[in-house]
Amino acid sequence: MEISAKDIKKEFIREAAGTNVYTAVNTCSMELKPGSLTVLKGRSGGGKTTLMNMLAGILKPTEGQILYDGRDIYSMNDDELSEFRNKKTGYVPQGKSAVASLTVRENILLPCMLFGENAEDKADDLIKRFDIENIKNAYPEELSGGELRRMSIARALIREPEILFADEPTGDLDDENTELVFKLLKEQAKMGKTVFVVTHEDTAEEYADKVYLMRGGKLEG
């Protein structure tokens, strides 16, 4: 699926400062092609996550449109868009994102559970691939950052989405695991998926088909 951002812009009203409008992402356009891995780099606070959220259907831009194969996703209502996210996109959030009351395995199955569906086999497959079999019945609080990260990537893949968003997916991982994750993301792209990764890692560029840079809300690249 091809995603194109048309002249999108995001402004926030900073609550503390009252009516002070802050532009997190300046007007910009970009295209994400199926079968390619796009990397977005940039300094902290540059607006990377904000841009990614707009692309992923989580944050409506102040101006502009996000088109998936030509369709404006923000024209859908909440129910439609939510189901669309569930079926078409995988999202690896920045930081910890586990549901504490669910085991690793249940967390991975969560996107299916939300729609009353089951995918036990797929879950077990992913658990094997990410080498977290020994902890699949553990609860998130017992896990390391790297283990949580792998769990959250597995969760993003359980629906076999056409599009994959990952916000600093290697933040807590060592070099070995970082490489493993990027190889995996690249593999997904090679399978024809649209992959978008926000990262600080320099090594990411080796895998990237396209690299963008975000600086102070301005997109370059």
Binding site: S82, K87, L114
Partner: protein, 380 residues
């Protein structure tokens, strides 16, 4: 969380049962008096404190001449009339304390036999007794009063009044026992004629006459006996009952509202702490509606478990402490029947679940409005 919900239903349940028990006990007491007017010897009022006997189950006895029964029959406005014969046992086998023995006239009695019929069905024979529910004697047991052997023919249901510790027999039986007590010199009234003494005359006023008229009529013409309105006797109880019942109700309401607040705050905090989790669910494809449904069903599950726990615990506490409650309040206390209890349990569960639902609804509404984009950004 479960605990608070449990506390909520516990309060409502326990409060309702306590006030229902008090009302029940009062109704039972009212029934137990069973007459409009009670006529007793004048000294019963002062010396034996008749009122305490009826209301608190104090043991006592007193006698007047049997001729008054005939005189009272002639008083205008007297409808039904029946004599009773009282005696207090010395310590006997069945009972660690002295028990009140009450004799009734099987032919004319209208106050006691209806109760006994409920328990037995057969008329009570000579030297048979019917025992109150709290006494440690059972049907078929043989008891001995003043050396006279009597047989337990029936046991009454629990009444929550002084009936529960009394022994009933026909007038003939009690007269026999009085004779025996006189013979053994165990009766305070050494010079009475057991065959011709009565303790109390119960009167129902005939239709068309006012109770006051009849009471006054009797009291003006006979200085040695005293007619008492049954309702006067229990008005004191009725007042303190209203007071306690009111207090229990207010307390229940206050605690309920407090617990509701705590519940709302607790749910609010619980969902607030889990904002990130809910944002993650949104990202993974939960619509606002679905998220609200998740929060709701989770909260309802918690409050439902809490409610059931609370009601069960409440039932346990009330049943095991009903004696203590009764004696600490000093009021007749009779637990409602099983059906009523179940009803109260259902209603209090419903009330708490409703409260839980309200609290959960607030949180669910808030969570569904969550700013996903903002929360999912944060690292923690």
């Amino acid at each position: 969380m479960i605990l608070i919900a449990a506390f909520l239903s516990f309060t409502v349940f326990a409060g309702t049962i306590v006030s229902a028990s008090l009302r029940n006990g009062f109704a039972s007491l009212n029934d137990r008096l069973g007459a409009d007017i009670m006529v007793v010897p004048h000294e019963a009022i002062t010396k034996s404190n008749f009122e305490n006997m009826v209301l608190q189950g104090n043991v006592g006895y007193f006698y007047m001449d049997g001729k008054y029964v005939d005189e009272l029959k002639e008083v205008e406005g007297v409808g039904k009339l029946s004599a009773q014969y009282y005696l207090a046992s010395v310590k006997s086998g069945c009972c660690s304390m002295r028990v009140q023995i009450i004799g009734f006239d099987p032919e004319t009695d209208f106050a006691i036999q209806p109760w006994i019929k409920k328990a037995n069905g057969k008329p009570v024979g000579y030297m048979d007794v019917v025992v109150g529910n709290d006494l440690n004697a059972f049907v078929g047991d043989e008891l001995s009063f003043f050396g006279e052997k009597v047989k337990v023919a029936a046991k009454l249901d629990k009444t929550g009044t002084s009936y529960d510790t009394a022994v009933f027999a026909t007038g003939d039986t009690v007269k026999q026992l009085i004779k025996a007590s006189l013979n053994k010199q165990l009766n305070e009234y050494a010079d009475i004629d057991a065959g011709n003494a009565v303790s109390c005359v119960l009167i129902d006023v005939a239709e068309g006459y006012s109770i006051d008229e009849v009471v006054n009529d009797i009291n003006i013409h006979n200085k040695k006996i005293e007619a008492i309105r049954a309702s006067d006797m229990i008005s004191g109880v009725s007042e303190s009952l209203d007071g306690v019942s009111e207090l229990v109700k207010t307390l229940t309401a206050v605690i309920w509202i407090l617990a509701l607040f705590v519940l709302i705050i607790a749910f609010y905090m619980m969902t607030g702490e889990r904002k990130k989790e809910f944002a993650v669910m949104r990202v993974l494809g939960a619509s606002r509606k679905k998220l609200a449904a998740i929060v709701l069903s989770e909260g309802m599950f918690i409050s439902a478990i809490g409610c059931v726990t609370g009601v069960l615990f409440g039932a346990l506490v009330i049943v095991s402490f009903s004696g203590a409650i009764e004696s600490s309040l000093g009021l007749p206390f009779l637990l409602p029947g099983a059906l009523d209890t179940v009803l109260v349990a259902l209603i209090s569960s419903l009330l708490s679940i409703l409260a839980g639902a309200g609290a959960v609804l607030l949180s669910a509404g808030r969570i569904s409005k969550l700013d996903t984009g903002k929360i999912i950004r944060s690292g923690e």
